[in-house]
């Protein structure tokens, strides 16, 4: 116990030091790993998440502009079509300016998975896995796992009904117990393994699994179908492709902690 506390203190010290010296872990918070059952995923299978750091805010237009200035291969005019569809950075005027009405402090959207991944790698970080993202996202202001609260689900669903939140600025929603902002209420976010969700294109059909398209798809179902919000997130992930650039889809990065 004592050693753990010491380690934690030491870690915080490091974070602090690191933040001052070089601006990398600045803007991230420590997330203590644990085991949990995802809202929607493998049939009542416990998932283990290791300790990591997560960006406090989603990546903004301003930050992405800086990245692009240094990495021209990700400019709107230069990006390879394999890595981003035509819509890429659609709300930017050109490689250096945003369209009028688009705010620098708004989350960057219209980014492909490849671009988001490259951004994080360039910062010495990576995209979060679905399990990591969902783990942090199940917290509210008070609890690390607020999924049992009625208000938690209602708030998220209320957001899903609110139009055009992607035009809002980062940090306007209240932070969760980890100190992370905007996991809900602003934009949807890319995850590293978004393509691990196996929902066929026609899951609207009466047949709930397309056994020819997916091997072992029956193993993946809802552990808690009442959690409609989570179901929507997983369905969304299962429906997108890595080169898509979507109006309300942004991202944030995480980093492993040794």
């Amino acid at each position: 116990m004592k050693i753990n506390t010491l380690r934690r203190l030491f870690f915080i010290g490091c974070l602090f030091y690191y933040g001052i010296v070089c601006c990398q872990s600045k803007g991230m918070v420590f997330i203590e790993g644990s085991r949990y059952i995802p809202l929607y995923g493998r049939d009542s299978t416990v998932v283990e998440v290791k300790d990591f750091e997560m960006d406090i805010f989603p990546v903004t237009n301003a930050e992405f502009l800086k990245f692009i200035a240094l990495n021209p291969q990700w400019q709107k005019s230069k990006v390879k079509k394999l890595f981003a569809e035509e819509n890429y950075l659609n709300n930017w005027l050109n490689d250096h300016d945003l369209k009028s009405g688009v705010n620098l402090k708004s989350p960057v959207t219209y980014v492909s998975w490849f671009a988001a991944k490259a951004y994080c790698e360039c910062m010495g970080k990576r995209l979060p896995t679905i399990d990591e993202w969902e783990y942090v996202a199940m917290a509210d202001k008070e609890l690390r796992d607020a999924r049992v609260k009625k208000s938690y689900n209602q708030q998220i669903l209320a957001w899903y009904e609110t139009p055009k939140t992607y035009n809002n600025l980062i940090g306007e929603n209240s932070k969760n117990v980890w100190g992370v902002y905007d996991l809900h209420g602003l934009v949807w976010e890319w995850t590293l393994d978004f393509n691990s969700v196996l929902i066929s294109g026609e899951s609207r059909k009466d047949v709930d699994k397309d056994s020819n398209l997916f091997c072992g798809s029956a193993a993946i179902g809802a552990t808690d179908l009442m959690n409609y919000a989570a179901f929507m997130r997983y369905a969304f992930r299962g429906s997108i492709k890595a080169r898509y650039a979507i109006k309300n889809l942004g991202f944030r990065c995480v980093k492993d902690v040794n």
């Binding site: 030491f10 010290g13 490091c14 030091y17 690191y18 070089c22 990398q24 872990s25 493998r42 299978t45 240094l70 990495n71 390879k80 079509k81 394999l82 890595f83 998975w113 490849f114 991944k117 790698e121 360039c122 910062m123 010495g124 590293l192 393994d193 393509n195 691990s196 969700v197 196996l198 397309d210 020819n212 398209l213 997916f214 091997c215 072992g216 798809s217 193993a219 993946i220 299962g238 492709k241 890595a242 040794n258």
Partner: protein, 242 residues
């Protein structure tokens, strides 16, 4: 301990954004190969001796390297991926090295008991139905979604068991991250459901000689007329360009 922390963090920082630059420069760096081609067309980045025949590696003349580099890769080509792969013979390669042939690729894992044997059968049936001239210019490639278990040795065993340890068959594996990226490109979804079991979509993808996707066959045991036709067409197109 604190110092070690800080040093490692600083090191990490130094490495982060420069990685890309290093990769770009690789193209300019000299490349060496065994004069006897013991390991096929395997290239080395440093001078030395061939691990098989122990002859001195010789510098590959700039021309041949430049030639392949100068062929314009289109924006939608999978040859834009820089990931490094290993085949069942333990040879390293980039997807770009496969340029010039029609590629038929599918993602599987060797310990799979359900869909993969059927996918392998589908691939075999497709290959059987190709025209004689198409067979010569096609590579039928299995990409492992389970790089941890599917070592080159394991892939070799699997290839032999299935009588696929020769052209046009090829088995590839890479890191988990590169595999995830490749899957993203071909729109294959997969998820580990236990250490030896994965759920995955069953998609066979055809790429032309420039690495551009020309067709995808989705599902198991489906009619592969279209797939065969697209491969034959791609080979005809390839021959016209020569």
């Amino acid at each position: 301990m604190r110092i070690r922390y800080i040093v490692s963090i600083i090191l990490l920082l130094l490495v982060s954004c420069k990685e890309n630059n290093v990769k770009v420069q690789e193209g300019v760096v000299n490349v060496y190969e065994c004069p006897m081609h013991c390991e096929g067309n395997k290239m080395y980045e440093e001078a030395g001796v061939c691990p098989v025949c122990e002859m001195d590696l010789k510098l590959v003349q700039g021309d041949s390297v430049k030639e392949t580099a100068s062929v314009k890769i289109s924006e939608m080509s999978i040859f834009n991926l820089n990931s490094r792969w290993t085949n069942q013979n333990g040879q390293d390669l980039h997807l770009k090295d496969l340029q010039g042939e029609v590629l038929v690729m599918v993602m599987i894992y060797t310990s799979c008991k359900a869909a993969c044997p059927r996918l392998v059968a589908d691939m075999r049936n497709i290959e059987k139905r190709l025209t004689a001239e198409a067979k010569e210019r096609v590579k039928m490639i299995f990409v492992s979604i389970d790089p941890e278990i599917d070592t080159p040795e394991r892939l070799k065993v699997f290839a032999k068991e299935n009588y696929m340890d020769a052209d046009p068959w090829m088995f590839l594996r890479s890191t988990e991250e590169n595999t995830r990226e490749f899957a993203a490109v071909v729109a294959v979804s997969y998820k580990e459901i236990s250490p030896i079991d994965f759920s995955h979509s069953n998609i066979i993808t055809v790429f032309d000689q420039h690495g551009e996707m020309v067709f995808q066959q989705e599902g198991l045991g489906v009619n592969s007329d279209q797939t065969v036709k697209h491969i034959n067409d791609a080979v005809l197109k390839l021959k016209k360009e020569l």
